[in-house]
Amino acid sequence: MRKIMGSIILCALTASAAWAQEISISAMANPQQAAVGQHIRLVVTIEGKVNLKGSPRLPDMPEFQVYEGGRSSNFSFVNGKISSALKFTYVLVPKGTGNFTIGPVQIDHAGRTYSTQPIQIQVGSSGRAVQPSRPSRPPVVPPGPRAKPPKTDTLPGTSRYAGKGAFITTSVDHRRVYVNEPVILTFRFFSRIRLLSQPQYQPPDTSGFWAEDLPPQRNYNVRIQGQEYQVIEIKTALFPTTAGKLTISPATLVVQTRDFRRRSFDPLGDDFFRDFFSGGQQVKLSSDPINLEVKPIPREGRPKEFSGTVGQWSLSAKLDRKQAKVGEAVTMEIRIFGEGNVKSVGKPRIPVLKGFKVYETVSSSEVQKQKGRVKGVKIYRTLIRPEVTGKLTIPPIIYNYFNPGKRRFEKLEVPSLSLEVLPGKTQPVVVGSRSTSEPVGPGVKVVAEDIRYLKTNFSLKPFRPWPAWIWIAGFLLPPIGLGALWFWQRRQDQLASDPRYARRLKAEQSARRVLRQARTQRLRRDSKAFYASLSQALTWYLADHLGISRSGSTKREIVQKLHDIGAEEIMVEKLANLFDECDFARFAPSGRKDAEMERQEQEAEDLLVKLGRILSKERKV
């Protein structure tokens, strides 16, 4: 946007330079609606040359009493240029009511006559307030090379600004576009007042667009509702980059003008010094925002290899030579030219080139901006090297793009290209490769050997060798497992061959299980079942150890066996008593106390432990 700003300045300077060759004369009456006897100030301004001789010729004004208000010269710095003006002030006093016309004020300069536009004055009766109106300043357009103005009042958005001294507008050529379809944004600065300094332009925010300025700026005059404006016009091409509702924000322009608010009516006053030193009034002009509807590229009918390019394009392709030797570099140039966003033209798909080694593609673009349009060419150059002799063919190149004007996808195609490849003096030398023509199998012929490509399909994981303990464990665990298996097998064999041994091994386990059952029954206060279990645990344990039948063993037999192996008398007696108590409790009508049952259970467990020791000792003996 700096370019635009610079362009405005350049444009203003250029216009000033052109006008400096001529003079312009303008007249301004204030007020234009007055009462009889009220003073009307008529100021005739001559700009461009100050060394004028004589005074302007006033028309005949019989309806007014005319007084000369004096002459002043005025210097101003506008748009970086020093300009000068002569002002002739007259005071008109209407003599009667009615609508009067002040005819053209004329002045002769360099053999030519310059004149102002007529001014309408409305005079009411004396003592009646007359509505003040804005002063008119109809500029005189001197003959010269200036831009041809558009038709009056046809510029968009200007009607509501009619009467203002300066204003800006922005407009677009259309509001419904496709993505990447150009929109021409036009900025216009209208002015009919004198500026005291360079205007400060803030272009609109065009986020969501790819912008291309469209020089040169135009300068012309237009008449809006009877008032002549100088117009500076700047165009910008915008290419929306995304679909949806997009907004072009307002443009702003800060101008420095004379401060009309502080001016008091003084028909004889000369505001030269006041204007020069006061700096004037700063006014910020703003345009309206513009909403656009950006449509996405249609999916319907979209070719599979759509390039993403939008506009109106043509395609051409060529090789930089028709004949080459093996290994020589050949450039294939593909040009896509037409109208649209040149810089965003997508890369054409290069078909598989058999017999060639294809290197990277580089691109360049040339943009032309003519008559408010963006045109140009995008060039893709690809370096290829023939690797085999003979007539090599590059298949047709196909390019698909979207034409927003026709609202359809279009296909461009370049016919196949051919290259005559001759044998080279030396074999093709490719970095790190070696050419060969040896057949390696039926139908397979190696053209050039090279290293294989990079590994791309892998995740970044650090290499971790297996730790030593895995190896040690891997070699130790199988022998340990085998040893355990051997021992287990041996035990199984021993148990199978010696049933008494097997019973003895499991005696304590089964007795403990029955004792746990007895405890449960005690807690349920089932005394009969408790004593039955207690008796059973003792009987089974001793029967398994003594090698007698579980079911057929009696208290008497067990006690006898214990005597035989030399068990302590007291312990045997305890056992016999416990058996008796169990039998008694099982068949007695009354229930037993909990404490007694618990004692008997504990006694049974002690007996099992002690008898187990005696029996183990006896077995060893």
Binding site: I451, L460, P462
Partner: protein, 254 residues
């Protein structure tokens, strides 16, 4: 067998806490940048990017392989061979690494092999697999042998076929165990390296004051016999030469 190794490696990886680690974003970008640099012909930048990744701890076979490619494209045959060798140590069954290593080696002039075909075949076969690979094979055979022995124990030695298989497995186990042991000992004792200088000058002693005895071209694989300060003793087994070269001119495998 390769699948078994991959499967075993994957299982180990799954249970390893390292499996939870993923490549950091920056590392991923660096990896992509290295590839882009390689594709655009900026091999030096690709090498720098791969080295950056190695410095971050992402040391694996693929990175060494890609480094080898980037060095080879810069005509650094010695460095390429060194990187391919290191990659092969981490991924012994990778066909791409073997292919590229063979291709790059073909650019290096090798001394004539005067040994007979049988001896060459035996040597190639012996060196075909590394010590850890052979140890892995021996372990698998050992596992089979253990299963067969366990079956014999359960069946109380019944079944002639089972006994025959167990005996065969035992023989195989002894064979691979012996092979692996020798290879591991050799790998432990013998160190190899690659000449990365364009032409390394081997002197008769570890210092510039010693006379140059012979020169070794870039890419030649040599035995590392010892180190002393900034000098490395190398040996050329086929020619029977020994000498001292500057340490930075030879990249050792470890």
């Amino acid at each position: 067998m390769r699948r078994i190794f991959i499967l075993a490696g994957s299982l180990f990886w799954l249970v390893s806490p390292l499996a939870a680690e993923g490549p950091a974003d920056e590392s991923g970008q660096k990896l992509a940048g290295a590839r882009a640099a390689f594709d655009s012909g900026d091999y030096a930048r690709a090498v720098a990017d791969y080295h950056w990744l190695l410095d971050q701890g992402w040391e694996n076979a693929e990175l060494y392989y890609n480094l080898g490619n980037a060095e080879f494209k810069q005509h650094h045959l010695g460095r390429a061979i060194a990187y391919y060798r290191w990659a092969l140590k981490k991924s012994p069954f990778d066909d791409d690494i073997r292919y590229n290593l063979r291709h790059v080696r073909s650019f290096v002039r090798q001394p004539p092999d005067r040994s007979g075909p049988l001896a060459r075949l035996g040597r190639d076969l012996f060196n075909r697999f590394s010590g850890p690979i052979l140890a892995g094979v021996a372990w698998i055979v050992f596992l089979i042998l253990a299963i067969l022995t366990g079956s014999l124990i359960i069946t109380r030695g019944r079944g002639d076929a089972l006994r025959w298989f167990a005996g065969t497995a035992g023989v195989f186990f002894l064979f691979f165990a012996a092979w692996a042991s020798v290879r591991l000992i050799i790998e432990k004792k013998v160190c190899w390296g690659v000449v990365v200088a364009v032409q390394a000058e081997a002197r008769n002693g570890p210092g510039p004051e010693y006379q140059v005895g012979f020169t070794v071209p870039e890419g030649r694989e040599v035995r590392i016999l010892g180190r002393e300060k900034e000098w490395t003793a190398i040996g050329l087994p086929r020619e029977g030469y020994k000498g001292w070269v500057l340490a930075q001119e030879v990249w050792a495998d470890r």
